[in-house]
Subunit: 671 residues, 2 copies
């Protein structure tokens, strides 16, 4: 890694302003006639309905901070000479620190010079567009939307029914950080609502609904080193648990019957690492169908004698996983305990704020109250989950902090909203650490924000639709893995077969198989029955799907030694398991725009089939290598597009000829 | 009418600013800490697709013009004391004149104090909301949209197919003028894109994408006088032609067959004033179906010997109407003439700008070129239409001026776009005047803008969907008549049965009948076969509809003496024929929110049935009168809601007991 001193930011005076650069790259360019910072006052309107937000700003004032006075590493900005400074920047430790002299300012716009052919990636976990250039990205944790495409019937219907259709930028995990193809990265340290606007040719505009603490810049000669720097900055995940390598995590929510079905899948040759039953807490009947009972402890009616069965499974080499989220339903026993102890966020009147989740209300455990966080970690996750024998869980939600609740730390909920996923991750991580199970118990989250990297050992891509759609189907999971991976989230995975089945949209066997084919080349294979299990085909209900799935779990298991080495790289260097092609081929600009194939570690290239009824696929192979097709052994020169046959069971996968793992990879052809 | 001197605006200094009032109503209230004017710089993005616009603004700067220096009737505004003025206001002749000292300013925001319970009406011809309070209205002439409701399937499909779904504020005829329930009116004299934002409790915010020439205020003790003032300001229509009173204008576009169908309708008892054949110019086949041939002269293949037939009709007391719009198709003979003469708007290279209207291109006749306007008025409308024997026409379009064409007068097309409908109206009016047929030849327009009142003798409500939908059906025509009527457009009418039939949405006989029932109580009854005549039921295809329609034409004809008196009021005083209830009942605030019933002149109240399958309707009857139900003679006291039976043929209609026309009205019961 390069010496950090080389990266020091340089502040230079110019005729009527200044420039700031890092590693020779100009990141601020200010003059009186073309200022780089605007400040103002806005009044936002924010409406939440079940995790979906309508947000609009009324900008009352936006002024150019045109006049700069520079004193050492301090820049005092005002609208004109003679005016008292409204904002002071300090260039320090690779960052620009902000200090508002005018307490009325609650909006800031910062322009960062852009090249015409520049690409930008990141923004947290983005589902639709890996390269964000040309578009505008609000960064606010929320439901990601259903369909996420204003031209799709599903999005339209979801909007009408629940305001839930979403758009390309909606994500459970936003983060105000981007990586530029100009070999620098930028991060805004704030939890306020912000917007990255990459639509302009000459500059990127960063909008923040607050004075941010600071804006950090990172630069390195290579993308790999840049990603390492970001991982150092945001936190590092532990290694994958050893037990994960044994096969797939099988998601079933069928009560006791789940055990029988698991066994029959094993009998069919499925390699299994764990059984995941989100319904371990029991069910609630609603008009929408069965929902989980949001009180985080075993329901022995639905799972009699579960503790014993978990132990038996474990003896058999299989772990048991559950489910938890940061709410407690009013009709569960834990609610009363939390309310008595004052652990819930409150409304203006000081009483427990209730959130409607669709025919049942919940309290929001206030994680800014250390006692509440500790109680959730110790009494719920510690005692009722880990001590009970769970080896992991879906740590669901985190995006729904209502913006009008009152919190123990006294900070405006609008400023805590984005931070909530990170606090939620921390509660989970602390519980795991308290049992010394870090790197052993595995929880997975869909929500995130800056810093979630430090606490969350595994992302899952959220709730895709059960289809091949461009903005909410299988392909979006690749974009999610690549964008989050660049920002220090080494491990990503998804629900095999997708989750959301609405308005008659149901899984096809083909979708299930294509999804499993991709998942075999990700850190974790995990199946999900989806939101409407009975209306959608399940892996164990179709012999072709089952046998295909079994083979994919064998492929996953076969690659475990390689995956383990990738986990080692993640721990040591912060490199993600799934990587954009440009990460290792930065001289090949052809790779910069690719978001539907990825490097699985340094040696393997995976190009999933993400559309229906494809007999083959065109894949770009990076320059400077010879690439071996995993299923035929045929070799191709890099630097070209190849059209490759891709029948079911043979997703386009290539590895580097001559790589250290060539022998292992060539073994795929016997599976 | 009150003395205009009473209305003089008053400018008064305050501690750190000023107030401006009219008739005691404060219309500007400025202080350093709460300025009423903001100025700035924006960069707009405007995309047009077939008359539908996507418009977005990037506000680079918006500053408070907080510092005011007052000198006589001049107010010099700047951001702070000591700064050179950026904007100078002059209070003069009931208006605020604007002069920008800073040429960079291209955005202005003006706050006008609002009462909590204030209503505002106007904005041109609004289809969805008569009272605009609580909503935001961009004012830009465009297609009005199909469905105009983001929750409707038709709007969704129209958006996906053609970006054509529209929203509540889209209108062919915007106008930056409103009438306040506080008994004043405001008008912004500008043709720039503007926005009226009535969403805030304490003030209305007016946004203009230019420095307007001036903002005019009007005040009067009564709404009636206020409307008279506005009609004086914007122009006055001539009386309705005498021939109109003879019955309905029958719209048929069936070539020669139209004459046969007209006769059979007359045989069935339909009272007819005119036959309207928009296809008199011939047809063009496209993949969307038959379209008119946009070259404005008779097509004798489709209408053999038309001149003789028009004369025969006229001998029979029936007029003939045609169709024209401001474009010329490239494959018609008029195009060549216009192009040779340099009458078309051009592109940047100076060649004729072509506009795609769906499988055929057209030139845009440049009405800012006096020679082109004169040619269109004289050679086309004069010679080929009026001299040929036409007594009127639909003067279609006017909303499509592309924002990137070059015009003869050198003004930016973005500034001429809104003015185009008025220029188009003027061309038509001049042609009519040149043959001394003002008040005799009748053309009708859907597009409009400030000043269209002066030239256009009759509005038509544009292209409703053939249904009862809230935002694009029958009911929207009432809102259109009331809003435009307040601003000096005395005559309004609509396509009986609606126009737009898409995505399987077709007319029902019930819709046709309910529409005809309403139209009998408007200035002009006119039928339209719609955009897809063969897929939609026509008046002459259903015996019940035909007989119902015939009766409605008799009702219309019966009321002609009354209508004629209303036309007299329009000519003399500028009062609209269709009036909101509050116009004559301003002390009854219950009437302020009503937009689905109207006064038909001072003596009659009409409450059309605008939903399907209604056996009755609840109608509010204003205070201080006794109201006679037109069909039963039953009398009701005002100040209450009554539920009234409304079978087909008996739309809820009431008249004032004891009014001058009582005998005439009571005659309705015999029809």
């Amino acid at each position: 890694m390069q010496d950090l001193k080389d990266m020091a930011m340089k502040l230079e005076k110019t005729e009527t302003g200044f420039t700031v650069s890092i590693n020779g790259r100009t990141i601020l360019d200010h003059s009186t006639s073309a200022p780089c910072i605007f400040a103002g006052i806005g009044e936002e309107r924010m409406d939440m309905y079940r995790g979906n937000f309508e947000i609009e700003d009324y900008v009352i004032e936006r002024g150019r901070l045109a006049h700069a006075e520079i004193d050492g590493n301090r820049i005092a900005l005002s609208e004109r000479s003679g005016q008292k400074p409204r904002l002071v920047l300090t260039i320090e430790n690779g960052a620009i620190e902000f200090e508002a002299s005018d307490p009325l300012i609650n909006r800031l716009w910062i322009r960062i010079p852009a090249d015409h052919d520049e690409h930008v990636w990141g923004g947290g976990e983005q589902m639709s567009y890996f390269d964000m250039r040309g578009r505008r990205f609000p960064l606010w944790t929320s439901e990601p939307g259903v369909g996420r495409d204003q031209t799709s019937e599903i999005t339209f219907k979801s909007n009408v029914k629940d305001r839930a259709g979403g758009d390309y930028f909606n994500t459970n995990y936003p983060q105000p950080t981007y990586v530029s193809s100009a070999l620098y990265a930028m991060h805004v340290e704030t939890s306020a609502y912000s917007v990255f606007d990459f639509r302009r040719k000459a500059f990127h505009e960063i909008e923040v609904w607050a004075i941010p603490e600071r804006i950090e810049f990172f630069a390195a000669p290579t993308f790999v080193e840049l990603v390492e720097l970001l991982s150092d900055r945001f936190g590092r995940q532990p290694p994958l648990p050893e037990w994960v390598y044994n096969g797939a995590i099988i998601g079933l929510k069928d009560g006791e019957n789940s055990f029988r079905r698991l066994q029959s899948m094993r009998d069919a040759g499925v390699e299994v690492s764990a059984l995941w039953c989100e319904d371990w807490v029991g069910l609630r009947k609603t008009s929408f169908g069965a929902r989980l009972f949001w009180d985080w402890q075993v329901n022995e009616e639905r799972y009699p004698d579960l503790r014993r069965r978990i132990a038996e499974l474990r003896d058999d080499g299989i772990r048991f996983l559950g489910y938890v989220n940061p709410y407690l339903c009013v009709d569960g026993p834990l609610f009363e305990i939390a309310e008595k102890a004052g652990y819930f966020a409150t409304d203006a009147a000081g009483t427990t704020a209730l959130v409607d989740f669709g025919e049942f209300d919940c309290g929001v455990v206030d994680f800014t109250n250390p006692a509440a966080a500790e109680w959730f970690a110790e009494d719920i996750i510690g005692k009722k989950m880990l001590d009970y024998g769970l080896s992991g869980w879906m740590a669901d939600f985190g995006e729904y902090l209502p913006i009008d609740v009152h919190l123990s730390n006294g900070i405006d909920a609008k400023l805590m909203h984005n931070q909530w996923p990170t606090l939620w991750a921390e509660v989970n991580a602390k519980a795991v650490a308290s049992r010394s199970q870090t790197g052993e118990a595995l929880f997975f989250m869909r929500a995130g924000f800056t810093g979630v990297q430090k606490h969350c050992p595994l992302l899952w891509g959220g709730d895709q639709s059960v289809d091949f759609s461009r903005h909410d189907g299988l392909v979006t999971v690749i974009c999610a893995a690549l964008s989050s991976g660049l920002l220090g989230n080494a491990y990503h995975h998804s629900d095999i077969g997708g989750y959301t089945s609405l308005f008659g949209n149901v899984r096809t066997p083909e979708l299930l198989m294509r999804w499993a084919e991709m998942a075999a080349f990700t850190p974790v294979m995990r199946s999900h029955e989806g939101n409407r299990p009975r209306e959608n085909v399940q892996i164990d209900q179709d012999p072709q799907v089952l046998s295909h799935f079994a083979r994919m779990t064998r492929i996953y298991k076969h690659l475990a030694p390689y995956l383990k080495s990738l986990s080692g790289e993640a721990v040591a260097r912060g490199l993600p398991v799934q990587r954009p092609l440009f990460l290792h081929y930065q001289d090949d600009r052809e790779t910069y725009a690719i978001q539907d194939s990825y490097l699985y570690g340094p040696d393997m290239l995976v190009a999933p089939i993400w559309e229906a009824a494809q007999a083959d696929r065109v894949v770009y192979l990076p320059q400077g290598e010879r690439w071996v097709h995993a299923w035929t052994g045929e070799t191709f020169a890099g630097g070209e597009k190849v059209q490759i046959a891709a029948p079911l069971g043979q997703p386009p996968v290539f590895y580097r000829a001559g790589c250290a793992n060539e022998a292992l990879f060539s073994g795929l052809r016997g599976l």
